[in-house]
Chain length 554, copies 2
């Protein structure tokens, strides 16, 4: 973190390398007295303008020559957007201690096993305290859409910082583990100098409904379903699945899990006691196949319309489970923006096959995992922070959260809307943006990490929109003119060769012009072929294909 | 319409060529005594899995040798998904009479002028009647998100069919032109043999709110905006724009329209009296620029996140209007599924620039144009149809609408869920599906209509996801081995040439193998190069690029 103002020994520096201005790849770095502490290290899922990208990582380029200074990674909970990038960071320095709750670490371990990394894990619980270098950490229970979430308080000589992680304030959670507002109040009494607050639902009015309020709708599905019940939800939403298991049990059905991440996570959750099921309730799919339809519950992945997941394959008839009349499909999940068409395609496909599809659009089968306006305002009033930085959100969420802080009386110049890379220094009880480190999108793309460029992505978008035209020009060494052809190969549009007949004279003219001016360098000929072909395509095809020139001496 | 059962003289045949199982490209064909009647002829907008496609047309292949039998095209209203394909149908037979209300025909004419077609227009009004061949038509007022909508009743010897078009039942529309339920009741008394009913909101509980209930939120924007007000809405939503004009006038602001379709449609609506504005309220953008910010209202297109529209360019700083602190942007529009990310990007961009963005997520600034469950049930009970076919909707909407018909007492075997191309015969008061004509997606793509294939689209998706690898193999005629190279050109991913070093030996081996077996045909060599390159890419790059082989004899 070069080119930044020197950091006094009694100051704390905070830089978010991801999660500000976006929902995902959360990663916040704390610096104090030369030591670094990382809170969360997640991935961001690509949008439609980033085709082919697997995931996007936070950009820790600025940390690269200071990896040795990292005292620990603290994980607030086990969602991908908080833990997904840990394997990539550990690949650069495997012995960084990773601190988190039991379920969080178990989900992380499963992931690290796939990456063949053996991590240094430090398990903590709510109420626990831990010192790492100059950082004194205290962990507080928070409630979220995955069990075992933690907020983290960071004490340094610069003061007390409270980082909520992702949280909501369900007053009746299934595991009775409520967000520790009493702890928030105690810290508030002590004086929270800086409050980092989840913004995801800061523009949603009112209070987030309790998870247990979904029970009637889930129960109704099981009570009325004449044949199979197929449930799709997030593979980490232990409490949602618990409600499904309970309803299945009540109505004498068995349950099988389908989909790699669902099987793995629910296995871990059972093992560790986060998910409870009477003996014999959970069976494997082979056992399930031998049961009558009205004894069957399948719990599978694919609630976001992922085309390769079990649910999408059932909807389009590409799965061994042949969904039909009388089957009931329950989508007990949110609809993440950008996935609407994919999810509606599945709902339509299942409906057309005769299934009754129950989803958040027609029944109360989902609640959010994040605090809405109502809860956030409670939080601000309980904590009464000196300084606030909204985290975890797009611009609109950060702005809405900042407005909430202001509405509870936080001073206007103490509410900072920051972006990824912005450097926030907390000194003498005052937080201020003092500089910025450069951050970019780091794409994981096939085998590569951070190699894919914005230019390549722009090319992909162009290829996807308009296809590609390979133009092969065999050129006579002596005359500089076309020896034959040109040959044209199109992909992604009209394959009819006659469409390209009018291109030949254009290229002949282009090459004759080049020969006249004694232009012979291959690169320059290629440039001219591209230019001429592009301009021809705009007129003749009203398209802008990517043109790949191949110049060969005959 | 070959291979279908013969149609008795007292029977009516109905085939939807679009609009069933999708929202868009509505087109229903009626056949009676050898004559055809077309109701609506619209376009469908492509989804993300149809990249580069401009629009999708209904597939009237089955009509192509019967164009002369078409007695008329009836247009229910002026939305693109009901009129957008008319120019393409008239291109095949320009003298088909087109019947519609005044505003509908004026929007169509503007479109046909661009296509250089002079149509045979027949203007009708609500309450009007008209005979075309064996079809007796009667038109009834319906209320929708565009003025001057019509339902159409079609009387033939087979009975009475009522087609709602798109409609809702706003009891207090701005133009006081309510859906003619009294007319629906009168037809019901006469006996509606077949009811074709808009399904768009058949899964939305309750009643659609009145357009006039948006006034307080729109008014609040104008009352409190300190600087400019920028409004974005659909370019055909005359009544929404009327509310904006009224509020602007009340608060002493001037209004300019921005965006080609907005300027054109609002000009027509003013001219014909559908939009009313006091003298001097509407100005051009040059005049607006000279006014102080708090006197300015801009009404522009782009509410669905279209990247080239004015709004998107303002959000990303690519527009002469520099949106900033104190500006208010009002998105007075719906959010069509699939556009969420694009729209949120705009909201985020505008928010990050300091604008206050008011949209349906945080204020009551949009109502739907379609009847919800509440209104639909009223309709069924007033009309009491013998047979029902839900139209205009995806599978989930059609199913929901069918369930509504059943709930009001229509007999189970008289409620038909049909797909595009399904042939419905109404005979002896009974409607039944008697066959099907083949229908496909007809893509308008650059200069081509109906040429783009599903294979080409699959190629585009592959190109967009994984890029393209052009492999150039110069082959020695004598040995059949590589004379040099191979040369590899990548687009859409890693440009680093070293990534392809390990491909050379693979291709050398492939060609040596071919030479050994005396394989010399270019097509076969190309196939082997593609196979070898694909398999190499899967392993070496974990990608599946499209491979374009270029085999040249050296």
């Amino acid at each position: 973190m070069a080119d930044l103002p020197a950091l006094p020994d009694d100051a704390l520096r905070i830089v978010a390398l991801g999660g500000l201005g976006e929902i995902g790849r959360n990663m916040t770095v704390f610096e104090h007295q030369g030591a670094l502490l990382v809170v969360d290290c997640g991935v961001l899922f690509p949008e439609e303008h980033q085709p082919g990208v697997d995931v996007i990582l936070p950009d820790w380029t600025a940390l690269r020559d200071r990896l040795a200074d990292i005292t620990a990674i603290v994980l607030t909970h086990g969602h991908e957007d908080h833990i997904g990038a840990v394997p990539y960071l550990l690949a650069e320095r495997p012995d960084i201690p990773v601190i988190g709750s039991r379920l969080t670490l178990s989900f992380l371990s499963a992931k690290l096993t796939e990456h063949r990394i053996t991590p240094a894990l430090v398990e903590v619980r709510e109420g626990g305290k831990l010192d790492r270098g100059p950082f004194s950490l205290e962990f507080l229970a928070v409630n979220h859409s995955i069990p075992d979430g933690l907020a983290v308080a960071v004490r340094t000589r610069a003061g007390l910082v409270l980082h909520t992680g992702d949280f909501k304030m369900d007053q009746f959670p299934l595991d009775k583990r409520i967000t520790d507002l009493r702890g928030f109040a105690r810290l508030g009494e002590e004086g929270v100098d800086l409050f980092l607050v989840d913004s995801t639902n800061a523009d949603v009015p009112g209070f987030t409904t309790s998870e247990r309020d979904l029970a009637p709708a889930i129960e109704a599905v099981f009570r009325t379903a004449p044949r199979r019940v197929i449930v799709s939800s997030f593979a980490s939403h232990v409490h949602r699945i618990q409600q499904v298991l309970d309803a299945a049990h009540t109505h004498g059905r068995k349950v099988a899990f389908v989909g790699r991440s669902m099987v793995r996570n629910m296995g871990l959750a059972c093992e560790l006691g986060y998910l409870t099921a009477p003996d014999g309730l959970i069976v494997d799919t082979q056992t399930l196949e031998r049961l009558p339809d009205n004894k069957v519950t399948l719990v599978c992945t694919g609630s976001q319309g992922e085309p390769m997941a079990a649910l999408a394959r059932m909807a389009s008839g590409r799965h061994t489970i042949n969904v039909g009349d009388g089957d009931t499909v329950l989508l007990a999940s949110s609809l993440i923006p950008g996935n609407e068409n994919a999810v509606y395609r599945i709902i339509n496909g299942l409906t057309a096959r005769g299934a009754n599809v129950v989803h958040k659009g027609n029944a109360k089968v989902h609640v959010s995992g994040h605090a809405s306006v109502g809860e956030l305002v409670y939080c601000y009033n309980i904590v009464r922070p000196s300084n606030v930085v909204p985290i975890h959100g797009e611009a609109r969420h950060l702005k809405a959260n900042a407005d909430l802080a202001l509405s509870t009386g936080v001073a206007r110049d103490r509410v900072l809307i920051a972006g990824n890379g912005d450097v926030i220094d907390l000194h003498d009880g005052h937080a201020a943006i003092t500089g910025a480190v450069e951050v970019h999108e780091v794409y994981v793309d096939g085998h590569t990490v951070g190699v894919l460029t914005e230019d390549s992505l722009a090319e992909r978008r162009a290829l996807g929109q308009d296809g590609v035209l390979t133009v092969i020009a065999l050129i006579d060494r002596d005359t500089g003119l076309l020896a034959e052809g040109p040959d044209v190969i199109a992909r992604g549009f009209v394959h009819d060769e006659s469409a390209f007949e009018s291109l030949a004279p254009v290229l002949e003219k282009t090459l004759a012009g080049a020969a006249e001016r004694a232009v012979t360098a291959t690169a320059e000929l290629e440039r001219r072929i591209v230019r001429a072909t592009e301009s021809w395509a705009r007129k003749a095809l009203r398209r802008q294909p990517v043109v790949v020139p191949v110049v060969i001496d005959a």
